[in-house]
């Protein structure tokens, strides 16, 4: 029965399964699996022969002080962008949704503009604005009498990472803001009317209506933000190259450094890739399964 149906519509099955899965296999599946294998080797990226070295790369990772530093920085990055981009984005979305503003569509576009900038361009722009001595930020701080705060924003071991996280959140906020705002718009107005009839104050209807109704959108936004923080590369590569002294290094950038930029230690790089895979896979699975499994149930055929 099934075979009959497949034979009858073979061209759709061919174009719909075979081609996507061949491409998927070549460019996603095989590289993902082969990367795990490479993490047990000492491949340098160019020779055709390399040795199987067992867990050596993983032992090296345990002894490598940079790994721990990077991991910690990634954790800070994730937490920082959750607080600065997602939570602030949520409250901005609530504010823009409330009936207390004119021209909300203009504001939405304005806050979305930074998200359309490549992080590389964002990095170039803020390198100019933060450059020591002449950067606009220092001038502004001087102007409003906060000259004492001036520091080499990207050169100071203690502040460089937080500077980057703030810049990232500035650029990223348009994304959570847009999703939250669209989600809030889809909440039926009757729920708020019912809440108001029962005497709920605005803060209560936010807590008892908006936030519970935003559960599924929030899971999507949060998992994507976490993954974004785990794989961060662009901003670090453009603004600090991980410096000063590894203060802003993150796993995604360190992996690139050891394999492509300085080391040619492709085996070691692959093992850092496996670490990134382990960290992100939980969130990727939550994102993909929890969300997308549901889409197909609409059609029972």
């Amino acid at each position: 029965m099934i075979w009959h149906k497949i034979r009858q519509n073979w061209i759709i099955y061919l174009l719909g399964i075979l081609i996507p899965f061949v491409l998927w296999g070549c460019f996603i599946g095989w590289p993902l699996i082969y990367n795990i294998y490479l993490s047990f080797t000492d491949w340098n990226g160019f020779t055709t022969d390399f040795n199987f070295v067992g867990l050596d790369n993983y032992h090296e990772m345990l002894d490598d002080p940079f790994i721990l530093k990077c991991l910690l920085n990634n954790v800070k990055w994730v937490i920082g962008s959750l607080l600065l981009a997602d939570i602030l984005g949520f409250f901005l979305a609530v504010t823009l949704h409330s009936k207390k503003l004119y021209f909300t569509s203009i504001f939405r576009v304005l806050f979305f503009l930074p998200y359309t900038m490549p992080l590389v361009t964002v990095g170039v722009m803020f390198s100019l604005l933060l450059s020591p001595g002449f950067g606009a930020l220092d001038k502004i701080l001087e102007l409003i009498g906060l000259g004492g705060l001036i520091r080499p924003w990207l050169g100071d071991y203690n502040t460089a990472l937080y500077t980057l996280i703030t810049i990232f959140s500035w650029a990223y906020i348009g994304f959570p803001l847009m999703l939250f705002h669209t989600g809030i718009n889809q909440i039926p107005g009757e729920l708020y009317e019912a809440a108001a009839l029962e005497g709920a104050r605005p803060i209560q209807s936010l807590w008892y209506v908006t936030i519970p109704m935003m559960r599924s959108v929030s899971i999507g936004v949060v998992t994507l933000t976490v993954i974004e923080g785990i794989k961060m590369f662009d901003l670090v590569a453009v603004m600090t190259i991980g410096g000063p002294f590894g203060a802003t290094n993150v796993l995604g950038h360190y992996m690139y450094t050891v394999s492509f930029r300085t080391g040619n230690q492709f085996g070691y790089g692959a093992s850092i890739g496996v670490l990134i895979l382990l960290l992100s896979s939980i969130f990727s699975l939550i994102y993909i399964r929890y969300y997308k499994g549901a889409v197909l149930h609409g059609s029972e055929r």
Binding site: G16, T182, V217, I230
Partner: protein
């Protein structure tokens, strides 16, 4: 009674106006990095150092022509545009068939296969970049326009697939059944019913994914080394850390030029982009 009513309306209006002004101030501060960069780009370097915030009395556009020549921005813009349009178009063509198949036909283990196809959506590039580099080298796709387009198409496919699937599952099957009874072939139905119905989703998916490809840096950095093939994101990094750090206006002008296409797109098509991002990222 009447007077009280109008008074009330006025006070509401005033309240809204005050809130709006506060928000306007806040949003201008929010995008002030972009505004400051714009101001910097139309001033001379001396002017930038002496009074960084004031608008120039005579705007100068030297920096724009300098940036254009130094970076060969026309080439970078062309490459970025070409990769995002071609990669996205290919992704859309590849995604239409599985979207039709998974929503309107029986597929054994369909949910599992569908989820597998979505893996590319949320996996960090660093987890497969080394073997992918090897694959690209074996296929002779390094430093190759076709290569980067294929990669972007393969990684754009899951996103387009999601948008199309969530759109198609709302199209009633009866519509397709009646077309089939009238003798329509599958490809005919796809061509004359599905694709026209999908066109809003195709437009939204096209916009969002093109912006995504335009913003992409990691693949382009690793797979393209020839200056002639570089997209904007790789090319623009030449303005910092190198020969031009003393000239403020040139990098600023480069930032502004490279952003103009994206800003215009967003202002014209915000609604479509919003639809695309929402149905691709969270609806489900």
């Amino acid at each position: 009674m009447d007077r009280n009513g109008s008074l009330k309306i006025n006070s509401v209006k005033i309240y809204k106006a005050i809130c709006t002004s506060i928000m306007l101030l806040f949003s201008l501060i929010w995008i002030s990095p972009i505004l400051l960069t714009l101001i910097t780009s139309i001033k001379t370097d001396k002017d930038v150092i002496t009074n960084p915030f004031s608008l120039p009395i005579y705007p100068v556009f030297q920096a724009y022509s300098a940036a254009w020549n130094v970076l060969q921005i026309d080439k970078l813009l062309f490459n970025s545009m070409f990769y995002s349009f071609a990669g996205t178009a290919l992704a859309i063509i590849l995604a239409i068939f599985p979207a039709y198949l998974f929503t309107k036909f029986y597929v054994p283990a369909g949910n599992l296969l569908f989820v597998i196809l979505l893996v590319g959506l949320a996996i960090p590039q660093q987890t497969f970049i080394i073997p992918l580099y090897d694959v690209m080298r074996n296929f002779k796709l390094l430093d190759n326009r076709l290569g980067i387009i294929i990669v972007h198409a393969v990684f754009g496919l899951p996103f387009e697939l999601l948008i199309f699937v969530s759109f198609l599952s709302n199209i009633p099957n009866e519509l397709l059944d009646s077309a089939r009874i009238d003798g329509g072939s599958n490809l005919g139905i796809l061509r004359y019913i599905i694709v026209p119905l999908l066109s809003p989703a195709i437009a939204a998916g096209f916009l969002v994914n093109s912006i995504g490809v335009w913003k992409e840096y990691f693949f382009a950095l690793i797979f393209l080394n020839k200056p002639d093939l570089m997209p904007m994101t790789v090319g623009i990094t030449q303005v910092i850390g190198g020969k031009y750090t003393s000239a403020w206006s040139i990098p600023a002008a480069a930032v502004i030029i490279s952003q103009i296409p994206l800003f215009i797109t967003v202002m014209l098509a915000y609604r479509w982009i919003k639809e695309g991002i929402f149905s691709g990222a969270v609806k489900g």
